[in-house]
Every structure is written in C-alpha cells, then in structure tokens.
C-alpha cells in the first residue's frame, strides 16, 4: 500500500511543472520545470520501494540528461522564443484533442482492467537489481553497453566538423599580419602621463607627435576622443618651462 499523502505530493510535483511543457514560452523555463518533474518521479520511485531506481533517476535525468538539454539550449541560443504562427491551421486544438483522447483511452483502459491483490513490497535495493541484471538479463545488459558506446561515437561523428583548411599556427598568423602591413610591435598605450592619464587622450610619441592609433577604436567611433592639440600644447609648454640641465662645462669649471 502507498500512503495517499505521498501520491498527492508526487502528483502535484509532477503534473503542475509538466504543464510548462505546453504553456511556457522560453525553452529554459521548460527545462527547469522538467527537472522538477524528474525529481517528483524519483520521489515516486522511492515511495514505490525502488530506492535504486529513484537515485538513478536523479543522477541520470536531473543530473545528466536535463543538463545536456541546457547545454544545447545555451549552444543554440536561449533568447529565441518560439513563434506563435501556426503553419498547420488549428494544429494546436487538434493536438490538445488528440492528447486528451490518448489520456482518456489509457486511463479508462486501466480502470477497466482487473488487478489482483497488491502483494508485499519487495525493495529494489542495488544488490537485488544487480543479481537480476547479471543473471537473467545479462544479454540485454551487454547489448545496452554496445548501444551506449554506439550512441556516444555516433554523436561524436555527427557533431564533428572536418577541417577543410590547414591549421593556422602562431607563426602563420604573424606572417600574415606583417604582410598586410600591420605594425610589428604593440600599439602604444593612450594617455599623456603626468598631465592627463585618461584613456581618451592619444599618446605622444618620442618625436612629440600625437599617436591617434593609441586610443581605443570604440572611443574613436563614439566621438569621445579628446582634442589632441590641446594636450600637445600643454606638453610643449612643460618642455619649454623646464630648466635647462646644468651644462657639463660649468660643472668642470667648479671642480677645477
């Protein structure tokens, strides 16, 4: 016998989140509510004296399968929501009627069937399941192992992209850059230090000329670059006002 409290808890925990499959617009919400459904079914398994299956359900479904679904959702982009346009007229209502019909058939067939009295609970502990798996069902177990390997290799082959061009290493990339006339060294950092160290002022080269390429392209495109002439004037002003270094001849005269 199963306690009614367990049954109704599991029923609410599975049926209500599973409705997200029909009504939630974003696939991510559907995936998260499917995780709740899987946990509910795991609770049902443990309540139906199948503790091993309950744990496997959590590990395989919520841990592996739904996370795989989330990975693929992230790969194909979570932002796109499904369009509401129906390509087949009235498909939604036909689907709803067909699904309700299917549910009615299954439930009425179950209610008409005559079941014997419920037997004693036999707990599906891991050792009991393992005895069956490796004795009566050992052939099916081997076939399943082959199936899993085939599926993994098949998925690898399906998603692998053959390389059409030879791989470009660091050396090839560097040669291409130099051939296209790029500067072989790093770009200078922006800012005129000691007077103005903001990123929006071009650096001043050793020749005293501003280097516009030192300012980030983003700032240039936004038109947020400062006027370089203004800062150039001030730097020149500093240069002019600096005291002349004491002449080497003067020092020698003092010593002598």
């Amino acid at each position: 016998m199963v306690s009614p409290f367990l049954f109704w808890t599991v029923a609410f925990l599975t049926v209500i989140p599973s409705l997200a499959l029909l009504f939630a617009r974003k696939p991510t919400y559907v995936a998260m509510s499917m995780v709740a459904v899987m946990v509910g079914i795991a609770v049902a398994f443990i309540g139906l004296s199948a503790p091993f299956l309950g744990l496997v359900q959590i590990v395989v479904y919520t841990g592996a399968v739904m996370m795989l679904f989330l990975f693929v959702l992230m790969l194909v982009g979570v932002g796109n929501t499904e369009s509401l346009k129906e390509s087949i007229a009235g498909q939604r209502w036909i689907a709803v009627i067909a699904a309700i019909g299917l549910g009615v058939i299954v439930i009425s067939a179950t209610s008409r069937a005559a079941f014997g009295p419920v037997g004693e609970a036999v707990s599906g502990e891991p050792d009991v399941i393992a005895h069956l798996l490796f004795s009566r069902y050992v052939l099916a177990m081997e076939v399943l192992g082959a199936l899993l390997i085939t599926a993994a290799v098949g998925a690898l082959i399906l998603t692998s992209v053959p390389r059409l061009l030879p791989k470009r290493g660091q050396e090839e990339i560097m040669r291409e850059r130099l051939k296209s006339g790029a500067d072989p060294v790093n770009k200078p950092m922006p800012g005129v230090y000691a007077r103005h160290n903001a990123l929006d002022v071009p650096a001043i080269g050793p020749d005293g000329e501003p280097l516009p390429q030192s300012v980030s392209r983003v700032l240039q495109a936004r038109g947020q670059m400062q006027d370089e002439e203004r800062y150039l004037e001030r730097v020149n002003d500093v240069d002019n006002s600096l005291p002349k270094p004491p002449a080497a001849e003067g020092k020698k005269e003092d010593e002598s």
């Binding site: 049926v15 079914i41 139906l48 693929v72 194909v76 699904a99 069956l132 009566r136 599926a151």
Partner: protein, 99 residues
C-alpha cells in the same frame, strides 16, 4: 491507497508529453516531451512491479533509462546539426532532410 493510482498518474503525464510533442514547434521542447513520455512509462513499470511484488519491472525501467540516455545523446546531436544547417531549431523550418 493502491499503487494503481500511480499508473493513472503515468497516463496523465504521458498525455501531457504527447501533447507537447504535437503542439510545440521548438525541437528541444518537443524532445523534452518525448522524455516525459518515457518517464511516464517508467513510472507505470515501477508501479506494476510494486503491485506484483516483482523486481523485473524495475529492471525494465532501468533499461528504459539507459536507452533514453543514448537517445538523448543522438537526438541532441541531430538538433545541433539542424541548427548548424538552418540557424534555427524550429521544426517548421526543416522541410527537407537535405542539409
């Protein structure tokens, strides 16, 4: 309460999953509907195993889980291929099998 109640619950979940497969155009969501149907079948297996005091039903449910895991791996690889070819996972866009 008899474990047969869980078979009814499995029937409801199976119907919801099949409705999702028929209604939704997003390939990933439709695929999750298939997963829900497999889980509903598992729930019925375990409920029947409890009713008949047998472990074989649980072993069958275990096999279904393994097959479902293999199916998810291949199915999601196919969805990624579809996305690479069409830039969408909508089932309406895939009108021909040619890539």
């Amino acid at each position: 309460m008899s474990p047969i109640a869980f078979v009814y619950l499995a029937g409801v979940l199976f119907a919801i999953g099949s409705a999702a497969v028929m209604m939704r155009r997003d390939a990933i969501v439709a695929f999750m509907g298939v997963e829900l149907m497999l889980n509903a079948a598992n729930l019925a297996f375990v409920a029947f195993a409890r009713m008949h005091s047998e472990i074989d039903g649980q072993v069958m449910a275990f096999f279904v889980m393994v097959v479902a895991a293999a199916e998810v791996v291949v199915g999601l690889a196919l969805i990624i291929l579809l996305f690479r070819a069409r830039q969408t996972v909508s089932l309406d866009e895939a009108k021909e099998l040619k890539g």
